[in-house]
């Protein structure tokens, strides 16, 4: 009976899956695996980390490529616009000079070409003002009794107008060789000087005084 039973059981071994099912299932599982593997590669932390690093590197490269051309432009600006640069940068003037000198003295040469006329005018102007201050400052000082060394343009102009109006001053003989004019002419001068004073054109007052 045992043998007969086993023979019956062994007949069950004849049960088998269909051949097409076996091959199709195998193919299906392997193809699904390929998809899973691809997904796992793209979504793996290592891949994502690599992606972030690559992105950061690409950004750095682009940034450097964009920034590099600006360096010569900056240097060119410093070399050709020292005055503006100094005004803008203030305390970096020394550094700018150093850079300019490094460029072969270009900055200094350019500056020297541009500045002489302006410098000359500025020196003349300043010298004239200094003379005005010294001469008329002294006058005003002797008039008012104050002991200030110099006076403002306005004070000088007011003093000159007052003098031209014929007020009682003692400095008419000290007017640097200016000769006395007629009364009509003086009145005209005084009027123009007053207007110039009102307009705060102190240099013009001085010119009128010297006429």
């Amino acid at each position: 009976m045992e043998k007969e039973l086993l023979e019956k059981i062994y007949k069950l071994r004849k049960v088998s899956p269909a051949d097409d099912f076996v091959s199709d299932t195998k193919q299906s599982i392997l193809s699904q695996e390929e998809t899973v593997e691809k997904e796992s590669v793209f979504f793996s932390p290592a891949f994502q980390h690599g992606l972030v690093m690559a992105g950061a590197f690409a950004f750095l490269v682009v940034f450097v490529q964009m920034a590099l051309p600006l360096v010569p432009q900056y240097e060119h600006y410093v070399a050709h616009h020292p005055r503006e640069f100094v005004e803008e940068e203030g305390e970096k003037e020394e550094e700018a000079n150093r850079v300019a000198e490094h460029e072969g003295g270009e900055r200094m040469e350019v500056a020297e070409k541009e500045e002489p006329v302006q410098k000359e005018f500025a020196a003349l102007e300043e010298g004239l003002r200094e003379i005005q201050r010294q001469v008329f400052g002294t006058k005003i000082s002797s008039e008012t009794g104050e002991e200030r060394v110099s006076y403002s343009d306005k004070e000088i102009a007011e003093y000159l107008v007052a003098e031209m109006e014929g007020e009682d001053t003692q400095v008419s003989t000290m007017t640097m060789g200016v000769q006395e004019e007629t009364e009509d002419e003086d009145e005209d001068k005084v009027e123009r000087a007053k207007k110039a004073l009102e307009r705060e054109e102190y240099g013009k007052v001085f010119d009128i005084y010297l006429e």
């Binding site: 069950l12 004849k14 195998k26 695996e33």
Partner: protein, 186 residues
Amino acid sequence: MFPRKPDKKKEFSKIYDENVTQIYRFAFLKVGSKDEAEDITSQTFLKVWKSFKNEETKKDFKSIRAYLYKTARNLIVDHYRRAGAENKADDKMASKKVPFENIVLKDENMRADEKAILSSEIAQIREALSKINEDYQNIIIWYYLDELTISEIADLLNKPESSVRVLIHRSMSALKKELNNGNFKS
């Protein structure tokens, strides 16, 4: 950076070829339906492959055959649960007689009448098998049909090997009794 593992595919392919027939047969004898057995078989191998490709879960494999049967058995249990939820009256579907045309036989050189006789015998044995205790069913399939070792069966049933030996003896007695009671004559 992303090493591919072609060896695993080869390894899986070998495991599949060696075990697909047994797993299909196990599923077929349990559920009694060709389509459902095919479905369970493909799901079993897919699940096992997903675990197999993972080095961590692969370490837990004592025996790949035991793991395959364990997975298939869980899927069969799920199958019965679904069937029970859909139709309470059809709980005993596994014990239904299987139509001959539903049985796929290995030997294609048999004559049609021989095939019919064999299919009939297989259907009778399967019916008798489906009526005995589930552990007995499993032991008869695993030990006598698929020739799993006692150690593998002990692992599958989570029982000591000595208990498995006792169960083997009892399962044969139970099947013999069922065949005699059910008038299953070859």
